[in-house]
Symmetry: C3
Subunit: 395 residues, 3 copies
Amino acid sequence: MNLESYLSKYRSGFSLEQAFYTDFEIFNAEWNSIFKTSWLYAGNVAQIPKAGDYFLYHLRHESIIVIRGNGDVVHAHYNTCRHRGSAICLTDTGHASRLVCPYHLWVYDKDGELLNARMMSSDFDKTNYHLHHVHVKQVEGLIFISLAKDAPDFSSIEKSLAPYLKPYHISKAKVACIKKHTIAANWKLVAENFRECYHCGGAHPEYCSAVIGANLNEDVVGLTHTKQNDWKERGLETRLVEVTDGTTTYAIRYPLRPGIESYSVDGKKVSVPMGSHRDYDAGVVGLVNYPNFWLDAVSDYVWTMRVTPIDASSTEVEFCWLVDENTVEGKDYEVKNLTKFWDVTGQQDATLCENNFRGILSQAYQPGPYAPVEDQVVNFIDWCINKLKSGLSRS
Amino acid sequence: MNLESYLSKYRSGFSLEQAFYTDFEIFNAEWNSIFKTSWLYAGNVAQIPKAGDYFLYHLRHESIIVIRGNGDVVHAHYNTCRHRGSAICLTDTGHASRLVCPYHLWVYDKDGELLNARMMSSDFDKTNYHLHHVHVKQVEGLIFISLAKDAPDFSSIEKSLAPYLKPYHISKAKVACIKKHTIAANWKLVAENFRECYHCGGAHPEYCSAVIGANLNEDVVGLTHTKQNDWKERGLETRLVEVTDGTTTYAIRYPLRPGIESYSVDGKKVSVPMGSHRDYDAGVVGLVNYPNFWLDAVSDYVWTMRVTPIDASSTEVEFCWLVDENTVEGKDYEVKNLTKFWDVTGQQDATLCENNFRGILSQAYQPGPYAPVEDQVVNFIDWCINKLKSGLSRS
Amino acid sequence: MNLESYLSKYRSGFSLEQAFYTDFEIFNAEWNSIFKTSWLYAGNVAQIPKAGDYFLYHLRHESIIVIRGNGDVVHAHYNTCRHRGSAICLTDTGHASRLVCPYHLWVYDKDGELLNARMMSSDFDKTNYHLHHVHVKQVEGLIFISLAKDAPDFSSIEKSLAPYLKPYHISKAKVACIKKHTIAANWKLVAENFRECYHCGGAHPEYCSAVIGANLNEDVVGLTHTKQNDWKERGLETRLVEVTDGTTTYAIRYPLRPGIESYSVDGKKVSVPMGSHRDYDAGVVGLVNYPNFWLDAVSDYVWTMRVTPIDASSTEVEFCWLVDENTVEGKDYEVKNLTKFWDVTGQQDATLCENNFRGILSQAYQPGPYAPVEDQVVNFIDWCINKLKSGLSRS
């Protein structure tokens, strides 16, 4: 059966056919129709505080150099020399005043211009051999890239995320910790898992201790209403943003359980209030941008999750914890304490995703009905199907 | 070249073309025409003595829950939740009074009925969401399953095996040990290896010490005749069962070397007489059921081998040792002593199979002639070819 | 896009399209059009000094037994029993007065004749079951094999290599050390790396210390001219052999840096002069035979490199160090000291090749221009393209 007939069989409200989670051709179609046409979260500027600082973002066969140029400009290049194609940057993070290919020493500027190529013939024109650029955009210190030929519109992402991000001062923030994990599951199962709390009550005791209502058993209408008014008065963004036709962003602010200060295992604060925050009452800011970005911020830290498909059956997730620029490790926060909440919760989710994937491999698997409380999953899956349909109609 | 032309080129009495041992498409055809149309040995009821005890049988992408229901009923289910497909049982063996999916806590009864699905909409009908069943049959405590839509006939298997198995009281027996190995060889090479003793003289000194005639150099006609009469008088089954058109079972009883009590490295008994046996004179019961079951029983223990293809080039074998229900480990048997004979012999066979597979990978390999003493291998290969032909004519 | 259109797009002077380094179908075409039609370096006779000594050469699915017969004859056989295909020799090197299959004990002579097959039926004709032969040729102790049905001409290889090899007395030499590495790169990248010194100045400080001009910054015309005259007077071969239409061999002698005695990290000799050499003034003999053979010899040792593709993305290289027959380890040479120069330089090259391969995987990679000093790489790539074209026109 081909992709077209799978797409025509899709029934919104039911999980996808097995092939969408396992088939290489469909995975490839997703790569082209979703990942190569969208803005992808790459990282944040706090990871590259000085000109020449860079990190690599590996996506399938691509290695993208995200490098800070002069001033606040961030460049993104394919990590491929224009001579014989060697990788130029060899470590996942580093610093380079010039980008020098280790093979035959061709030298590029931070913006990708070829500065020097030894011993080439006299008719060799350096201006034809810039590094291949990747589109790059920033919103409040978060860096998004696009592998598309023509980058899609970024304004709706910027508009949705900026007011929520602003108080955190991410551009000046400090990276406390970055961790990567590989999950043996299709990337959509990871994304689905992070779009519903139907599983939270059974799977996430720590998360449910921090977030009132996460178990779907508690009435939070009154509390939420009170808190929203409070946040508005203090100038904190509260507008719910949902993914609709042509947009990719979800944004929300919701309350912690009364008495809880932060996302932590014991409910107590794990760092000092971040950016312009002055207390622990900002609740939780939850941001999503399809297909690969998640952010949960409490008053004292920002946590981001970058989801990167490796192949149809495995997915890399990268967690990053950001704290206030003026914190001192050991005094204002302990990395172990700061990261424990998402270490524990993330591991629980990884296991759920891997079990989900294993079960889907069976010939007996068939699409099952989502529960009403899984409506955001349906939204995400619908979005994927529509992107695949658009991709088909273009090709 | 396609399967059809390979099948038409097959010449009985010669080993198969390379593609039958290496090609993914042919492996897939075998999966559909052989493994999905046959009764497959899964395990035995001694592995799940109490209601709610279960084990998982992993076959390629399938994970089958074999669970003891109430009374002596055994159920088999696909390990795939009807909600979003998660695996339900996560450990290879366990106990569950109810089958609860770890993802969103849907609850099933041991017989697969959906008992509870939280927060589903009012029009959700639980009776449509039973776990998908797998056919299951028992013969004297051995459990066979079928992944076929309509299960094949089981009566000839039952009729052939039951009289040989009866004295061992497997339903009440005790599992002394289970071990799994992965062999880097096509599954048919493992099966072929266990259908001939042309290799025994050179490869299996321990086996040849225990089994008179295994080296094909000793005259055993007189001894066998005497023993057969003796066994018959004592009510032990001796009828030779061979695989013929439409059947899959081979069964035989043959003598140990005079003075040898058991399958053991030193020839001495390794446990107490099992079931209704009262001495060490029952010889060897050898049972085979195509495509995945082997059993060798001596007076004091039963050894089973379950052969499961992983892919065209690797195969899992599971050995299980059963002893009498009343034995006490450390007093009546030592696991190390009990298992050593098949540990050693099985390792020798695994190495032979892996070397065989490696050699077949060469472009120079061509089907070679089986020796007359390898007639049972020819029987097995003919059976495989016929199953593949039947599969082709059905499709 | 298919191979034909890739070949038609090839532009000499530019590196190849990505697919030539990554695509399985093109790799397979190379296997058939290049590796199965060429003479391949297998090893040398010093590895098998006595009749019955053998080594295995593993190439993809093939395992070739290279065994010394009686006298100086070397035989090569596919390591596949004619009965059921088992591998016969199980260790990478060994000694066997007869080749006995470990499965069912069929016995072959060193020349491949089937001497004994137990219990076969009376109409079995042993003369039909010789081991399948592989073509084999020697030149001055180096062993080349061909997997072709009809072996290609060997005379031009012999003619080019023999005068350079003769003084080293490889037939009587001593194998000091053999090492194997796997490089995560397409085999052509490894071959390309060893056809240019554009990278040497930046990557190989040890090599540039030993070889004057390797950094491409030093004038060596005068020195080379003086040395050439000196070598000619002493009867040492100096004729430059280049790969032209229908030939596969490159050969050259060039000077070491004045004062340098050998290829060593400190520039000092690492063994005694080899074969008929009486001093350390023979310079460097550099030999290449497309597609898999490299040799660099200095006065006191011979180093060979055998390049074997594993798949499109990985390559095995085997280094062998040969020293004079009369040397004593610990007295005349230390293995660690002898091998350090190529250990270090080879590791540098492996890293360059792996980085090159990684960068080529990007969608942004496109063929880049070779520098004029990379003309030998162009020669090699042109040769590969022509072999692929010939293969296409044959099929």
